[in-house]
Subunit: 145 residues, 2 copies
């Protein structure tokens, strides 16, 4: 609760948010200029692509990508309207539905990834060594615990 707030922690806090904002803005800009949808579409499609054919529940996607459930619900509306995902009801729990990615969704993912990847390369991957990224990742994981 009342751990000390050092100068170092404060500085890291500020830089963390600056880094995120700047990097995200650059990726979004690149996607936009390539006529691709916002990054969060990719995030959802990616999570869906990682699982077997019976897909994911909305709340499972929400936990992975950290989005309010009502916003996810409407994001899925948009994705479904464009046929990138499909909702279907499963007997398992009739309150909700399961979401699966369609082949069009996979195709879109494959369109987005090379652009996204280049943006990560250009803005991020060259800035630190492998060991430094490994350290950075370790720190961030500790923070998320």
């Amino acid at each position: 609760m009342s751990s000390i707030l050092t100068k170092e922690a404060t500085q890291a806090w500020i830089q963390l948010h600056r880094a995120h904002r700047l990097l995200l803005a650059r990726v979004e800009e690149t996607l936009k200029t390539n006529n691709l949808p916002p990054l969060v579409w990719y995030d959802v499609l990616f999570e869906l692509s990682q699982v077997k054919e019976d897909g994911l529940r909305q709340y499972e996607i929400g936990e992975k990508i950290l989005l309010y459930k009502h916003n996810l619900s409407r994001l899925l509306d948009r994705l479904e309207k464009k046929h990138f995902v499909k909702r279907y009801t499963s007997a398992e729990d009739a309150r909700g539905n399961r979401i699966i990615i369609t082949s069009a969704g996979i195709k879109l993912m494959n369109q987005i990834w090379p652009i996204y990847r280049d943006s990560i390369r250009e803005n991020f991957a060259g800035k630190l060594s492998v060991n430094e990224f490994s350290e950075l990742n370790k720190f961030l994981c500790s923070i998320l615990e």
Copy 2:
């Protein structure tokens, strides 16, 4: 341009964004339950409080907190309507204006900070040692270069 995208860099990329989203969500939630405005209000007021009495230009604030100019313009509308900041025209450059923080703005900042600080303490400051935060900060600064 085409630096290699290692597993380590990719992992760090993902964790960076997860960490940001989670931490920001927690801070915003805490602010809200304390009937305080969103964090970006604090960001603006803080930047204004760091400078002398003649304030900042909009584009200067924008550079610091990384916000589109049109969104900043309207954020300042809201802040000005509540008398937390004031716009005034300076002879220096008649295209724009300068923004200063009011005493009410300073008061609001001082209300937000203890809550914000507690949230940083609780969700962030205890997770790493001083040296680790220092390293983390160093890495993040390298990324921002």
